[in-house]
């Protein structure tokens, strides 16, 4: 699991994963809430307090290689454009494929 620090490198890794799964395998993208905890919650007294601010963990894998990225509120709000780009990518490649099969 590679946790990428910059959003741009995450996007380029994601693009690579899209290309790798072109002919076979699948691409999985997961999003979940992440509170900064690195260890599980202890049953008695919680020493691993969450940092309080909520983030969003994004993971992408092709079943072999994993990349992940922790997005903060500011990043998400400022990069909705970037998200659109990656989703459109699916649309484009999909569109091409359906045209080819017609």
């Amino acid at each position: 699991m590679v946790l990428l620090k910059s959003y741009d490198s995450f996007l380029s890794e994601l693009t690579k994963l899209f290309e790798e799964t072109r002919n076979k395998n699948s691409l999985f993208v997961t999003i979940k809430r992440y509170d900064g905890r690195t260890k599980p919650k202890s049953c008695k007294g919680d020493k691993n307090e969450s940092t309080g601010d909520n983030k969003c963990l994004i993971r992408a894998t092709n079943g072999k290689r994993k990349v992940s990225y922790v997005a903060y509120a500011s990043v998400i709000k400022g990069n909705i454009v970037g998200l659109k780009k990656k989703d459109k990518r699916i649309g484009r490649t999909k569109g091409k494929k359906t045209m080819a099969t017609q």
């Binding site: 699948s26 691409l27 999985f28 993208v29 909705i80 989703d87 494929k97 359906t98």
Partner: protein, 76 residues
Amino acid sequence: MTYLDTWEEFAAASESLYQSDAVNFRFVWKYRHSDGKLIAKATNNKVCLKYRTDQIQDVKKLEKLSSTLMRLMVSK
């Protein structure tokens, strides 16, 4: 595991699933280019909702739901 019939149903159910258990909730989509299939899944480890599609217009809906969920995750 339940496959829902319409995206609207799936989106509404996913959002209420997130509201009911935000900590354990995760949202996954799987894209299989070779088969031209997209499967979206929302789960909290107890309830699992899925939606399967091969239609291009669902990508836009997926994008909308993802950003809604991400906004919910970072807010509060």
